[in-house]
């Protein structure tokens, strides 16, 4: 029997694509959460997980493009997705504002991801009825 309660979720992804299975496990879990009628408040990318938001990843055409697959799900369901700014800047993930601030030659944040602070994660902990983490398995 499916639970009649509608729950809200924050998903935190700390494992990177092509380094860990985390983006795939998290995506399949997110699809199942939505299919069960629950809500995803936000997706937060932390640590190596921020690589999921790089528009520059160019995997071979016979491999899954996790940035694109996640982008489609987030857009279709209007789920806010945030890459931690401290994790992102260190690893070379920039939006146009950070590109300008640090005078870098390019920005590479994929839509619909945004860059923001750990406060977004703290808020997720406070607001969502469930927080589920997807770490690197290595």
């Amino acid at each position: 029997m499916p639970s009649p309660r509608i729950l809200t979720y924050t998903l935190v992804i700390t494992g990177a694509p092509y380094t860990s299975q985390a983006p795939q496990t998290a995506l399949n879990f997110a699809q199942a959460v939505l299919a069960a009628g629950h809500t995803i408040d936000r997706v937060f990318l932390y640590g190596d997980g921020i690589h999921l938001a790089s528009v520059l990843a160019a995997p071979p055409s016979d491999e899954a493009n996790w940035t694109q697959r996640w982008g489609e799900l987030l857009t279709a369901h209007e789920i806010p997705a945030v890459a931690c700014i401290a994790s992102a800047l260190r690893r070379g993930l920039l939006d146009p504002a950070e590109q300008a601030r640090y005078e870098k030659p390019a920005a590479n944040l994929a839509a619909p991801f945004e860059i923001a602070g750990l406060g977004e994660w703290v808020e997720g902990q406070l607001q969502s009825s469930r927080v589920v983490y997807f770490h690197s398995g290595a």
Binding site: P2, R5, T25, A35, Y133, G137
Partner: protein, 90 residues
């Protein structure tokens, strides 16, 4: 308070033992990703309430007799997260 423990590390990873040390008899353990290899590890004793993502088992060829009873889908994983009062991802 029942806890859902989501474990994705291979049995050789230090966090595998750390997770098992935190599981009580009432807790639910869900094996995902490389952790499903624990079902084939003859040196391990797993807690009573254990399930594993069927896709991760099948992907690794863990389809032998007696193993399929552990396999669950992502819909069941969601149900486990709704039932637990606390979730720890190891």
């Amino acid at each position: 308070m029942t806890t859902l423990h989501i474990l994705n590390k291979s049995p050789d990873h230090p966090r595998f033992a750390l997770c098992l040390a935190a599981v009580t008899g009432e807790d639910q353990l869900l094996l995902t990703e490389n952790a499903v290899l624990a079902l084939a590890d003859t040196t391990l004793t797993l807690p009573a309430r254990v399930a594993a993502l069927a896709a991760d088992m099948d992907a690794r060829g863990l389809t032998g007799n007696g193993l399929s009873r552990y396999g669950v889908g992502f819909d069941h994983m969601v149900r486990l997260t709704t039932q637990a009062s606390r979730i720890i991802s190891w």
